[in-house]
């Protein structure tokens, strides 16, 4: 079988068009009675645009769609980096406890920490701190001196850490006032509703920077797929690469959780989907996976808004539903050793 028969500029053009279409659908869904002329005017803020539509598009829809696109791409990059560096198809920010660490920190911030403190440091930084702490604990638990990192142990430690931080989150939810709990719970289950333009800033700056760094390191990531010792013999600083990109994954996860709560499975499933289309070579995989991650989350967010309209479903509910079948397929493939 040939690798990546789809590896062509055509595929990328197709995916970019799909992202634009998904974005347009996200922005304009539910405005069916309007003409494309009106929509176009509102989107580009032309002088004769309908003020109400322009308000909806610019204050509600556009920031939200951009946010879910950024979150989808960020979690995909986090998952992709972890899978490459651990050579483990099940590695993902959610499974290694990063998401739980970030959300425990965020829940503590919302419910318990003094408001001044939170507003000074900012929810994104607190969530990053939580993700990093969870990762360091997972790393510490799986580390034994004088031996290389056991990849399976790291996944198991991550699961343990994840459970621990989930119980902390549950504790905070329990002690809080009922209405605060409700609010925090809704946010934790994943939602980008009510995103304002300034909320986009942390991810809009961090994600492109880290994506470019990862792209430049693509051959080194490929080399790690051949094994730690082989990569080392090829001059790749494997330890440094691991520490750097795990921190990057923690940062991306923290920012994503701060922006939209726990959005599970994107980091696990999307890199696999992209790998099936284009192979594991990272200079192709990274751009494609990020685009697909953005598309997937924009579409899932759109579904969450429309399925039970005017009520909204949390992102996590639909994602888990869509992710379960591919997740099972990955498990079965792993068992066959593919």
């Amino acid at each position: 079988m040939t690798v990546a028969s789809f590896r062509s500029p055509g595929l990328f053009a197709l995916v970019v068009v799909a992202l634009l279409l998904a974005g347009l659908a996200g922005v304009f869904w539910g405005t069916a009675d309007l003409t494309w002329d009106d929509r176009y005017k509102a989107l580009f803020r032309l002088p004769d645009a309908k003020p109400a539509l322009q308000l909806i598009v610019w204050e509600w829809r556009l920031p939200r769609v951009l946010m879910v696109a950024l979150v989808g791409a960020a979690l995909t990059l986090a998952g992709l980096l972890m899978q490459a560096l651990l050579r483990n198809p099940l590695a993902d920010p959610y499974l290694l406890g990063l998401s739980s660490g970030a959300s425990a920190a965020a829940a503590a911030a919302i419910i318990w920490l003094p408001g001044v403190f939170v507003s000074v440091i900012g929810l994104p930084m607190l969530a990053f701190g939580g993700a990093m702490l969870a990762f360091l604990v997972a790393l510490g638990l799986s580390f034994s001196p004088g031996r290389n990192l056991d990849r399976l142990m790291l996944i198991l430690s991550g699961t343990a850490v994840s459970l621990f931080f989930q119980s902390i989150t549950a504790f905070f939810l329990h002690i809080a006032e009922p209405h605060v709990t409700q609010q925090a719970l809704q946010w934790l289950m994943g939602s980008a509703a009510g995103t304002k333009w300034p909320d986009l800033l942390p991810l809009a700056v961090t994600l492109p920077l880290l994506a470019i760094v990862a792209f430049l390191c693509a051959p080194m990531l490929d080399a790690v797929l051949l094994g730690d010792e082989r990569a080392t013999a090829l001059g790749v600083p494997v330890g440094l690469l691991r520490i750097g990109f795990f921190s990057a994954a923690a940062l991306l996860t923290g920012l994503a959780v701060a922006a939209a709560g726990i959005v599970s499975f994107v980091g696990l499933i999307v890199p696999h989907l992209a790998r099936l289309l284009i192979g594991a070579t990272h200079r192709w995989l990274i751009p494609l996976a990020l685009l697909i991650g953005a598309i997937v989350l924009v579409l899932v967010d759109l579904l969450c808004r429309t399925v039970l309209a005017p009520q909204e479903l949390p992102l996590g509910v639909l994602l888990a539903l869509f992710a379960a079948p591919p997740f099972i397929i990955i498990l079965r493939r792993m068992r066959r050793g593919v």
């Binding site: 079988m1 690798v3 051949l226 082989r230 001059g235 790749v236 070579t281």
Partner: protein, 249 residues
Amino acid sequence: MASEPILQVSGVSLRKGRATLLDNVSFALERGRFYGLLGPNGAGKSSLLKILYRAEAASAGGIELDGRPVHALGRRVYAARVGALVQEKVSLSGMNLLEVVELGLLPLALPSREVRERAGEALRMIDLSHRAGEDAAHLSGGEQQRLFFAQLLALNPDIYLLDEPNNHLDLHFQYKLLDIVKRRQRTVLASFHDIGLAVRYCDEVMLLDGGRLVGQGAMAKVLDRRSLAETYRVDGSFTDGRLEIAGPV
């Protein structure tokens, strides 16, 4: 007088917990010679090679490449001059054969056209060029070993470190690939379990036992009746360039 050594290993030890895997090993490799690394299981052959391709750090001692301490050289600079065939199990997937061989040239930072040419040439040497676009996941153990050998042939470093190069290879490729390396007249340090193969290729051998270097020199001299009994625990002798073994001791 002998030429300056290309690689100088001085008093290298490796300890893990209470175990001593290498104990004060010293030797020098001269340019253009083929060295065999011999010894029974657990003698420390792989540990020594790991230190030389920098996957392990020595607990004590030092290594110099052309008179410069190795730790002062960047990883990439070192990897461009000292290439290794590594024993490490891995399941490849999602990369085609040509891409895997191209990764062997990572330390050199060559223009992509030259990378493609050199990798293609190496793929021909291992008789897999007709499958260049195939997914490396579908290779057998021997084919995978050939592929990693091709990485090294494409790189063509000054020093070849080969950890049991004939592992998984059928007879044809054992001879074909080592013949290619031998013809290139680079410095080679290769560990062998197969003494017959070692005889054919090595100018000189080093014998490790229990982490210590117990002999170095011409093969017939190093593998005498006494050292065969002490290290390999066999009753045998070297006659006319052939090892005759009567049985275990």
